[in-house]
Point group: C2
Chain length 362, copies 2
Amino acid sequence: MTSLHAIIMAGGSGTRFWPASRAARPKQFLPLAHGVPLLQATIDRLAGLCNREQVWIVTNATQAAALPNLLPDFPRDHILVEPEARDTAPCIALATATIASKDPHATMLVLPADHVIEPVDRFQAMLRRGITIAQDDETLVTFGVPPTYPATGYGYVECGDPLDAAEPRAFAARRFREKPALPVAQQFLASGGFLWNSGIFVWTVPAIRAAMANGNAALAKATDAMLAAIHAGDAVATTAAFQTAPKISIDYAILEHAKRIAVVEATVRWDDVGTFPALASVGARDADGNHAVLTDGASQLTLQSQGNLTYAEGKRTIALFGVQDLVVVAVGDAVMVCPKDRADDLKALVDHVRAQGRTDLL
Amino acid sequence: MTSLHAIIMAGGSGTRFWPASRAARPKQFLPLAHGVPLLQATIDRLAGLCNREQVWIVTNATQAAALPNLLPDFPRDHILVEPEARDTAPCIALATATIASKDPHATMLVLPADHVIEPVDRFQAMLRRGITIAQDDETLVTFGVPPTYPATGYGYVECGDPLDAAEPRAFAARRFREKPALPVAQQFLASGGFLWNSGIFVWTVPAIRAAMANGNAALAKATDAMLAAIHAGDAVATTAAFQTAPKISIDYAILEHAKRIAVVEATVRWDDVGTFPALASVGARDADGNHAVLTDGASQLTLQSQGNLTYAEGKRTIALFGVQDLVVVAVGDAVMVCPKDRADDLKALVDHVRAQGRTDLL
């Protein structure tokens, strides 16, 4: 049996949670999992499935520097630092080369750091099903979430034939479709047989290397070069090899034209909590439909106010009076107020903050 | 010539500026005069008119305890503490007894602590005119502001005959009218000859004592008892005498039925900055009509936002994105958000805060 390594992809910047999220404190650092940082919760969810010594975090240099403060017990030599932001394919290539250097036949479980997933037992059962398929069939495996609305912010996987009769259900993946336009998403929902791509993958090192060789020669070559550099203990060469990898997502580089991919249907409550209003699913709710995510002594008072979302950290109180459907955030040295229906565009505000020269706030 | 004493009435709690104002930090403590606390600005405006040694502050015990921190150089024995809140008549009675104990023929200038008044030279000229009238005619003198809209939150003075041809103009006051209903206020504006009562008064000690004797015997008796107690150096008796004074405003107790009152027309820019939206007149304004009062390192960033009013203290940034006509306040451990058109009702929020047991925030 091959060893199982979990690679947590923690490079996201989370501008849609500004000012709670900052460059050195991305979304996955925020205490959105019942007061626990999402990244910590992601690690905790693997307990019993994967040895702690085989958990890895891939992130950028800024966040890597902040990680020991967030996760003091996490081994520093299991933090893989991307030399630069080049999308997910080079990131996975670096992880693949690193794991391959330990065990060329290892199984790799790849997980986003910033999702809320419950309950743990069903999550692990779903992963075990995917691991078995990945190991038995030497195929790439993804996990698909049954869609509940025609989302345009997620990729979709079209399911083909079921692999067998076991539970949770698994299918041959027929097609990957990146974030579709609304009419297309509506058609996906109407036709059935489409799942949201959860961004969780499992495959063996040989399977992903074969898929790279078949699908993206430059990526395969960069992976080989990184592996050689790691074996040689040459960090400079590893960085140089990383920088030769094409700047592309793993979906576009590999998944959309891989020959054999399986998709396991997720049987968990899955939420990528992509924006402040999405925190309604993880926060407390009062009788007027005001949601609040409050940590480290923060509190809220509302009067004649409905449908607001408050996020606050630290000993402070947010008082709302006569307001509706606002997002109010108070963290550290910043307060942010916007309507809920503008929260998707928060990147525009972050761009404005940068344009104003206030990089101290980013 | 009699001595001139200035009595600054600083007892207001300013719940309409919560959470900037708190019990121990009322409106007059806030840095609303170009970054200077209103109370400090009120004292500063008297420079050259009145000896510093003849300036007094009347306030409650909570604020008196906080005053040395705000005004470290102000002599503590010139802070008069109201034993309890009994409206303005007992407060003025205490001040009258105190000043009378120093000089029974003194002139008393009575000023609210929490107004914005500019420019200083015209303000002092206006006061000098009133002081002369008060001393020459032994009459009570008030100062009236030409109304610019039919305000229902101010008292009005109806002007009678002009006293003489000097400037600024002065009239015999015909009638005092407390806060009128809107149709009445509109009628006042249409008919002309009405001024807003500024709450600034000047009179001699004999004149105010005579007016008390004629208008409110209980108030006159309490004043006499306080004066006797002060002469005896008996603080307990002073407190006891204060508590016998009727709980009533000086307007109702004296002004509305005093026989001879003069009103000097104010020739200054006067603003009682009664609510957060009124701060628009004292704060900075951006191109989108957002006003901000920012002190001690606070800053603001706005994007696609119009007509908001921000008040912040301390090193923090308020970011507004896509919002209109809001009041956003961030001071100490509290953030408050409400629509501008609800700012008049802020007392309801303060009552709610109290009802929720959060007296730590008041």
